[in-house]
Symmetry: C2
Subunit: 366 residues, 2 copies
């Protein structure tokens, strides 16, 4: 049980550490992008092909490695600091399980960027990266049965709570694999990967703050904040460089890293259902993509919309099943910058709907 004052102190200090981490990221990205260019980790910007202003330029790739290493250093330093100043608030096994999973995922993402792993490895390795979370997950495996009486009175049949046992842990594993991959497939527009991560991180932080206001003793929401605040600051620094027109690309390193960060806090801090509410656009995109992902419809390597150099706008390719193309089919051609902004607004709206469901609809059923 924490006195309210030290709770606020920890959050403020985490903010100070994170601000420093954000500045450091901002300073380091130019240096590291030179190194990744030298190492031949570069990419052409597909959405500017034929535009004389940008054509033929090689953009440094995999800058996620810079952000994620600064993030790790920041979290490790804050762990040390928190353990000196408020030792009773540090749950070491969960802290280190989180660090292990995130770090392993960064390693896999960077390995994928450098070595171009086959999809077999890509699918199976996140599984191993999430196992430490499963072991460290100390919570129960019971779920509260929703108070639904149609078509059957669920609570009469199953009781107030229902123990899912090992299936609950399998659900958590699936969640981690889904999070890491779903951000990876809603991508390809300048600023979109980092932008959506920033929106989700802000949503999680707001959720944690609301929960801490309701019950100041919920250790797990404090833990989630301590992991999410540095993520937010470092990601914002990256967004400055990745925003249209991108001066750097983020690589699989960043998409895997950010997906794993979200999965880690949701699993260890027990708000996996709320997280799924913040992932509505990613879920819709995944569902809409399934025919292509599972090979019913041919799947090109990049499923981005078509860039039209004469109008400087992006045009929908209806056979590429992503919500990016779906949006363009609704709105008509958009500039890349506008397209990204619209998608981020949609992500933000979904978060608002998520909050509505979480705080106004869910209480009726639980």
């Amino acid at each position: 049980n924490l006195p309210n004052l030290s709770l606020q102190w920890i959050i403020i200090q985490s903010g100070i550490f994170s601000f420093g981490a954000g500045l450091l990221t901002y300073r380091l990205i130019p240096t590291i992008s030179e190194l990744t260019s030298t190492a031949n980790l570069t990419g052409m910007d597909l959405n500017k092909k034929g535009n004389p202003k940008y054509s033929g330029k090689k953009i440094p790739e995999s800058l996620g490695i810079c952000v994620s290493v600064v993030y790790l250093v920041c979290v490790i330093l804050f762990q040390l600091f928190q353990w000196f100043s408020f030792p009773e608030t540090v749950q070491l096994s969960e802290y280190n399980a989180a660090l292990t999973s995130i770090c392993f995922m960064i390693l896999l993402g960077f390995g994928d960027d450098v070595l171009n792993l086959r999809w077999r490895y890509k699918l199976v390795l996140p599984l191993f990266a999430s196992l430490p979370l499963l072991v460290a997950y100390a919570g129960g495996t019971s779920v509260v049965v929703p108070d639904i009486n149609f078509p059957v009175p669920l609570r009469e049949w199953l009781g107030m709570t229902f123990d899912l046992g090992v299936f609950y842990r399998i659900y958590l594993l699936m969640l981690a694999i889904f999070c890491t991959n779903s951000i990876n497939i809603l991508a390809g527009i300048n600023g979109l990967e980092v932008g959506q991560s920033v929106v989700i991180a802000i949503s999680i932080i707001v959720h944690n703050l609301i929960e801490l206001t309701i019950s100041p003793n919920s250790q797990q929401h404090l833990f989630s904040l301590v992991l999410m605040i540095p993520f937010l600051f470092t990601a914002i620094s990256l967004l400055f460089y990745n925003w249209y027109p991108s001066r750097v690309f983020v690589g699989d390193t960043f998409t895997y890293f950010s997906g794993m960060c979200f999965a880690v806090v949701a699993i260890l801090c027990h708000f996996s259902k709320t997280l799924l509410l913040f992932f509505i656009p990613q879920i819709l995109n995944f569902l809409y993509s399934t025919p292509q992902l599972f090979g019913v419809i041919p799947c090109p390597r990049h499923r981005v919309p078509k860039y039209n150099p004469t109008t400087d706008k992006m045009e929908a390719i209806p056979t590429n099943l992503t919500i990016i193309n779906l949006l363009l089919m609704v709105t008509g051609p958009l500039s890349e910058r506008k397209l990204c902004i619209y998608l981020l607004i949609f992500q933000g709206l979904c978060s608002c709907i998520g909050f509505g469901v979480r705080y106004f609809v869910a209480p009726y059923f639980f």
Copy 2:
């Protein structure tokens, strides 16, 4: 407190898991070496320059990434398994601190191989990688004062034990940084990096087994075994490919990874002084190297001996201060294979001396 039977079971099962990991490493190395070659992670073998049999061949680099990822997967799976079958033997916070430190170090090593980091980063990043160990280190910070009466009666002055406080933790940090770098500077001969790691790993395993025979309840030596047995098996698989003539190189990824593994078990399992006994060749090499490392004498990028293509032997370069050149100055020119074998025999002899000191000399003073 563990019954003897389940202790033996855990060790045997760890052996089975590790054997599987070793086989998997052996199978994967050819596949991964193709990927690293494609990614331009290759090196020329400097010690075969001018030998028509090998000249102009590019050897795949950084195969440490394959070994270390298989190692991580093996340890994570065994953690899950041990936690299912003997939950009381799993100390989660230390387990995960170990995984975090090792994984972060692998990431840095691979990052160094790909991006060629400047030495500034190389020196400071291992520091952060070892901080989780410091936080998880639950042991006391007191040392037993040796029973020495000359020149002063130490125990009368300091007492039986002396609390070093924060200095003890700083000593542990220095140990981690020393271990990761000392293997990296005793390198450059086919098979040497992996060979010395195998000898050290065997020494540690023997030490753990002796300690477990003396007191079967020492949890920490069991933990050390669980981390070292998979290391030994995966490293042996790599040695098959890295032995003279090397078909693959191991990269900084492996040297950092192996150094960190040793530091982790020594720190978390409280045998840092014994580890230093097994590191005698590395310590001698470091001390002998200091004039070059700190820039008193000019330091070339590679400090390997000279290869003479006409005799097919390695010849000493006395200005390159490594024990490799020192040995060649004593023995005269040797073939690369023999040179590596002699160095490994020296490493093994030092381990024997270490055991002698640990079990026969130290009891007189402590």
